[in-house]
């Protein structure tokens, strides 16, 4: 059977304005020209069905770019990506029916109510509207979300709650591959926990596959079967959290994934960008 995700030598460039600092700009008039930035650099990846696969890395390391490439929102410059054996470029509609993505910024119509946003999603994904409502309410109540808040405008909800709604929205379309791009960044510890529990449950009950990116090494450690550490568009390590830690353990008793990152890249985790 085809794996949930298969990436072969996937590479993505962007042309970005060369910001340059003041002096450099004055000395080199051409430094205002565009330069090429390699956001994702020849990545190979295979995620089997049913896995919770984590990608951790500092800001700007290419996590979101990789997720967008898988979710048909960006076209790769080199390489090929398949989702359950379907090419994301040539068979994008097939792929779109199998996936859903939650991004770090909850993508909602701010003035529309929670339910109006959800019913838009239900219609787009062909989920019967009544069924969608039942499912959404059930999920949201599990998150401690009072049922009648569903008719409130999104802008009245806290960020944590918006993120819960985003997850509910992704989930009721029953994707077999769920792409979560930093779903817990900026959430309070309690909401963070809830999201993590939910991800574990989704896998349990619906044998879907989950790709989750995160800035939080402990989170990856806690919920992921395997973790890839990404730095400047390349994987510097890919294994189970346990194996990654034992790689660098040495004399120490306690090691974290942060230690792994520092050991492998020679750089400090938190000081990135």
């Amino acid at each position: 059977m085809s794996p949930a995700i298969r990436c072969r030598e996937i590479t993505k460039f962007f042309w970005v304005k060369n910001s340059g600092n003041g002096i450099k700009k004055r000395l080199l008039p051409l430094s205002g020209k565009k330069k090429m930035l390699t956001a994702v650099n020849a990545l190979d990846l295979e995620v089997p069905k049913g896995e919770i696969f984590g990608i951790v890395g500092p800001n700007g390391s290419g996590k979101s770019t990789l997720v967008r490439l898988i979710s048909t929102l960006l076209l790769p410059d080199i390489g090929q990506i398949e989702v359950f054996g379907h090419d994301v470029v040539k068979q994008r509609l097939r792929v779109r029916r199998m996936i859903n993505r939650v991004s770090v910024d909850a993508a909602f119509f701010k003035k529309l109510s929670c339910w109006e946003n959800l019913s838009y999603a239900a219609r787009l994904y062909g989920v019967p509207v009544r069924e969608a409502r039942e499912k959404a309410v059930e999920i949201l109540e599990r998150f401690g979300f009072h049922g009648d808040r569903i008719n409130q405008p999104m802008e009245n909800l806290s960020r944590g709650m918006q993120q819960m709604v985003a997850i509910a929205r992704a989930y009721f379309t029953a994707p077999i591959l769920l792409l979560l791009d930093e779903p817990t960044t900026g959430l309070d510890p309690k909401s963070k926990r809830q999201v993590q529990e939910f991800v574990l449950q989704v896998r349990e009950n619906h044998d879907s596959t989950v790709l989750i990116t995160t800035h939080d090494m402990d989170e990856a450690d806690r919920i992921c079967d395997r973790v890839a550490i990404i730095d400047r568009g390349r994987f510097v390590a890919l294994d189970t959290p346990e194996n990654l830690k034992s790689q660098v353990r040495g004399e120490r008793k306690e090691v974290s994934l942060e230690d792994v990152f520092m050991e492998l890249t020679g750089r400090d985790w938190e000081n990135e960008e």
């Binding site: 929102l73 076209l75 509609l93 993508a107 909602f108 119509f109 109006e116």
Partner: protein, 265 residues
């Protein structure tokens, strides 16, 4: 569920979503509506001293321009709007044909434009106690429908600009719209335009819409007399819509190659 009904349902997703937005931004809707009505009235009053004919001439211009610019604006700004809301990626990764997406936006624009125009018509009729005994309403309706296609085509082509350039695309569509207003003879005959700009009026579909609309409403001309113009408008629509869809598709590929769809997050 068959493929066709599935696509029809997702088409409705866009119509429903946009009417929900109208509801939630009701304050602004009222502002635009009032502005629209006042604008048409002030233009109508310019003609009062010159008789009912002139008033009608001007008011028809204001109404038709209102309708066509709603069509153009709703379609061409749909990309900028979703970019502003932050939903553009969500909409673009939905399992819906792009054609269905665009058709949904156009269908909404037509329904919304008709509603706004009817409200405007009501206000105008009350203020100027216009008599439309001579008018050929059937012809007017046919002209409106036929012209819609070409304006939607133009809107689709213009919608590409915000897709390709998040920074400047939307400005460009506004300038384009303003230019159409200048050259299409909305409040005057195109023959009074300076000769160097006059040729442009020939290529604007709105020129033909306005001309035949006035013939139908002011002079009560029968449809048969306008057949040539109607066919021309229809042909323009049937050329511009597929062209618009095609260009939109190319622009989407460009945006996904260059990372213009969205960057942050």
């Amino acid at each position: 569920m068959s493929q066709a009904t599935a696509e029809m349902k997702s088409l409705y997703a866009f119509v429903e979503r946009n009417f929900n937005l109208v509801k939630r931004y009701l304050g602004w809707e009222i502002v635009f509506m009032v502005y629209n009505i006042v604008n048409a009235l002030t233009i109508g009053f310019i003609g009062v001293t010159q008789g009912k004919e002139t008033v009608l001439y001007l008011v028809v211009g204001a109404m038709i321009w209102g309708f066509l610019s709603i069509l153009f604006h709703e379609v061409s700004e749909s990309v900028s709007w979703e970019r502003w809301e932050g939903t553009i990626e969500y909409t673009f990764m939905a399992p819906v044909h792009r054609f269905t997406h665009l058709a949904g936006m156009c269908l909404y624009a037509i329904i919304y434009g008709i509603i706004r125009t009817i409200v405007l018509l009501g206000a105008v009729v009350i203020f100027f106690s216009l008599s439309l005994e001579n008018a050929n309403f059937l012809a007017a309706l046919v002209i409106l429908v036929v012209s819609s296609f070409s304006f939607i085509g133009l809107g689709l082509i213009a919608a590409v600009l915000p897709l390709m350039s998040p920074e400047k695309g939307s400005q460009a569509t506004h300038i384009f719209q303003a230019l159409l207003l200048l050259i299409s003879g909305v409040y005057y005959e195109t023959s009074i335009l300076p000769s160097w700009i006059r040729p442009l009026s020939v290529v604007s579909p709105a020129t033909y819409t306005l001309r035949s609309m006035r013939a139908a409403l002011l002079e009560g001309r029968p449809l048969a007399e306008m057949l040539g113009t109607l066919l021309f408008l229809l042909a323009t629509g049937f050329l511009l819509i597929p062209l618009g869809v095609f260009i939109f598709h190319q622009a989407e590929i460009y945006a996904k190659k260059s990372g213009k769809l969205k960057r942050s997050g």
